[in-house]
């Protein structure tokens, strides 16, 4: 193939871009409808292990201190957001407030994930002890 042919946008390029965009749309729809509605609790995990679950209808401030660093999650007005973090990039603080089921806030450097869950999953019972300690 001539070198110059590769400099013009062709039909295959457009098919590729459209295909990826379509895949993104389908995934977005699946995620959107799989976790529909407002969640009732948030679950905080570090390294995939549950640190605690907290009700979204009770305003509170949750400091999380681990070997990776410190994060402060705030529940206010039925939503949760990352108020403080001593991670290098602070992406977690820029991800806004979450309250829809399956929404997440991720602090990658601290391996910390805050996720919104419905009120009746097994995480609730399994983390009861951890939650009590955190309180």
């Amino acid at each position: 193939m001539a070198e110059t042919d590769r400099r013009k946008l062709n039909r295959r390029d457009i098919l590729l871009a459209a295909g990826v965009a379509a895949a993104a749309l389908v995934l977005w729809l699946v995620f959107h409808f799989a976790g529909r509605g407002t969640g009732e609790q948030i679950c905080i995990r570090v390294d995939g292990k549950v640190q605690g679950t907290y009700r979204l209808d009770e305003d509170r401030t949750i400091p999380v201190e681990t070997g990776y660093g410190r994060n402060v999650i705030v529940i206010s007005g039925g939503q949760a957001y990352m108020k403080e973090a001593d991670c290098p990039d602070h992406y977690c603080m820029q991800q806004g407030a979450i309250d829809q089921e399956n929404e997440t806030i991720v602090c990658l450097p601290h391996k910390l994930v805050v996720e919104v869950i419905s009120g009746s999953t097994q995480e609730k019972s399994s983390s009861g002890g951890v939650d009590a300690v955190a309180q």
């Binding site: 390029d13 871009a17 993104a24 995934l27 390294d47 990039d89 990658l108």
Partner: protein, 167 residues
């Protein structure tokens, strides 16, 4: 090209991609989704794949990732950059060899695979599959940034090719 000339070209391209990483670090782009950035340094990899041997491009790319990581990032950012960098390198190399995509299409595939590689490593790191929630946004971002880099690459490649040929 003599070995000395080749070594010089590779060194210049590493320096160039490091400057692009620096420029990128200066632009405070924030889309609210972690990991989305322009990927300016990918321009060097893209052009390199059309001009040099794959091993040489891989050396440039990994050298750039480690240098930029030490200068502007941290150990974690090096791992994510490597995941994205290796994924997009492999995909772009295969597409240049075995597809009829233009430089724009190759770059789009590179941008998308970079983001997919990074989020897979991120999901493994936090051991939580739910962060794949960001995947749709990252796919679209990969297409847009890939297209931008591809358009620039299409303009720059013939100029660089002329300079290399003149030697």
């Amino acid at each position: 090209m003599t070995p000395a000339a080749k070594a010089a070209y590779i060194a210049i391209l590493i320096a160039l991609s490091l400057i692009l990483s620096y420029v990128e670090a200066l632009i405070p782009l924030n889309f609210g989704v972690p990991g989305i950035k322009l990927g300016l340094a990918n321009l060097v990899v893209l052009i390199g794949l059309f001009l040099l041997r794959p091993g040489e491009v891989l050396a440039i790319s990994t050298a750039r990732i480690f240098l930029a990581g030490f200068l502007f990032g941290n150990a974690a950012s090096i791992i994510y950059s490597l995941a994205g960098g290796l994924a997009s390198f492999a995909v772009m190399l295969l597409l240049i060899r075995f597809s009829h995509l233009s430089i724009m299409g190759v770059s789009i595939a590179g941008g998308v695979s970079h983001n997919v590689g990074q989020i897979i490593v991120a999901a493994l790191a936090v051991e939580n599959i739910k962060i794949l929630y960001y995947l749709p946004a990252l796919l679209i971002a990969g297409v847009l940034t890939g297209l931008l880099i591809g358009v620039i690459g299409g303009r720059v490649l013939p100029v660089v090719r002329r300079i290399v040929r003149r030697r």
